[in-house]
Symmetry: C2
Subunit: 137 residues, 2 copies
């Protein structure tokens, strides 16, 4: 048809799309990111984590932890000597590389909550945040 639409970024766009979907493959679903957030403040034990990630069932937590471990984002260590075997989960170094992602989601979610509660300030808000036109970085 009309190949003349000056689409600067059709390449960049598909690159971005691929990367985002790669990331989503690992982090997608309802629980993975909340779990990682729970681990940002230090090692946690199973039940402890289950209490923090409100609403998750033991089965889901168990399953998600396995997947996160397989992908190298978290580490599981067992202390067999102590009383009723202590199991601890920690953010692995690789998992810590997710901080920027967590942070941006955290910030956006916070703003979003305000935005929902005070919709009258919408335009101001949207303008203030200022969208950096990066993404091509």
């Amino acid at each position: 048809m009309h190949p003349t639409h000056p689409d600067l970024s059709s390449h960049e766009c598909s690159t971005a799309m691929r990367s985002v979907r790669d990331a989503l493959d690992l982090l997608g679903g309802k629980w993975k990111l909340p779990i990682i957030v729970g681990l940002t403040s230090g090692p946690r034990r199973f039940k402890q984590l289950q209490r923090e990630v409100v609403g998750i069932t033991a089965k889901m937590l168990s399953k998600e932890l396995k997947e996160l471990e397989i992908n190298g984002l978290i580490t599981r260590h067992v202390q067999a000597d102590v009383a009723p075997v202590a199991v601890t989960y920690t953010l692995a170094a690789y998992g810590r590389t997710l901080y920027p992602v967590i942070e941006s989601l955290h910030t956006w979610g916070q703003q979003h909550r305000r935005h929902i509660m005070h919709p009258e300030t919408l335009e101001a808000t949207a303008a203030e945040w200022a969208a950096p036109d990066a993404l091509s970085a």
Copy 2:
């Protein structure tokens, strides 16, 4: 070694968790973010978008676009005068506030792909990225 990290207080942690889950409520699922990425480089028509977001069915695309519009992230406009009614989707101002999120996911996904393909450079990689200790901002 010693990740003497700015331990998120338990309060900050639950705040972060709540925000992240708020964001995930809007953006969760397999398609929403890829669709938004597709719209970052300009307005798109339905079929055009379907071609870019590889693998999505018309039904899903239609459903997701509706939800994104309801949440004010994108805008739909219809041009009724032209031949076979042209429908165009655009990132709304509010949707553009997601750039930081998209960008961090994009960056991480890109690194992750490299990481998968050259696992031997793992330690170097993880160290290099350096996790910004923010998040408590």
